[in-house]
């Protein structure tokens, strides 16, 4: 399938790589399908999460465990049911990144992670009711602290 992207032009992606978001993302509730781009064959922890049918909607996402090894989001049964999780090892987490003009100040949202059932490619954004995490963690600073 061909997806159109404002930044990348036309990209061909296998249909089975489409990740369904039955509830959308907060603020983008009507967009139900995304693909992850830029993940193949390199060690870059950043990826694009690109809307399948919206050339203008694209996020930078990061595996939160790469800069916060102690990250421990608690996911309730209801989320597991909605994502049709049968085996907890199928779960992956991604954090949406905000990139300001000074990119060294980029932040990741650890309070509202994207939770993915990697086996079935179903995902949703979950808001954690947990004081430990905020919507804006400075990635490079926390990386340094953890090292």
């Amino acid at each position: 399938m061909i997806i159109e992207s404002k930044h990348f032009g036309y990209i061909e992606i296998p249909e089975e790589e489409i990740i369904r978001f039955p509830y959308g993302l907060y603020g983008f509730e009507d967009i139900k399908e995304y693909v992850l781009l830029g993940k193949v064959g390199n060690d870059n922890p950043f990826m694009w999460l690109h809307a399948v049918k919206r050339p203008d909607v694209c996020f930078v996402v990061i595996d939160p465990f790469v800069f916060r090894k102690d990250y421990s989001p608690s996911i309730n049964e209801e989320v597991l049911r909605k994502l049709q999780v049968e085996d907890p090892s199928d779960i992956r987490f991604l954090s949406i990144v905000v990139i300001p003009q000074d990119i060294s100040k980029m932040t990741a949202n650890l309070q509202g992670p994207i939770v993915i059932n990697a086996k079935k490619n179903i995902a949703m954004q979950v808001i954690l009711d947990d004081d430990k995490y905020t919507t804006r963690h400075y990635i490079l600073e926390e990386m340094k602290k953890g090292a």
Partner: protein, 78 residues
């Protein structure tokens, strides 16, 4: 918006299975208890608004950035 007056200890019901109970009133703070089925998502609204705002911000700026550049900055700190 439907507006009701309630006292501490009183409840309202939403549908058959959601109960919102006023636990305590102290000055400008109200403590509320909620009984609802597990599939009903309960969130403080300002938190949801904040996540919406951050998501929208995340989309706007990305056209100026490359993953390679992000990785380079990231690896420098590693």
């Amino acid at each position: 918006m439907l507006v009701l007056s309630r006292k501490a200890g009183q409840s309202i019901l939403i549908g058959h299975n959601i109960e919102v109970k006023i636990i305590e009133v102290q000055g400008d703070q109200v403590r509320i208890g909620i009984n609802a089925p597990r599939d009903v998502n309960i969130l403080r609204k300002e938190l949801m608004d904040e996540v919406r705002r951050v998501n929208r911000e995340a989309v706007v700026d990305n056209s100026l950035v490359s993953l390679e550049e992000l990785n380079r900055v990231f690896k420098e700190r590693e």
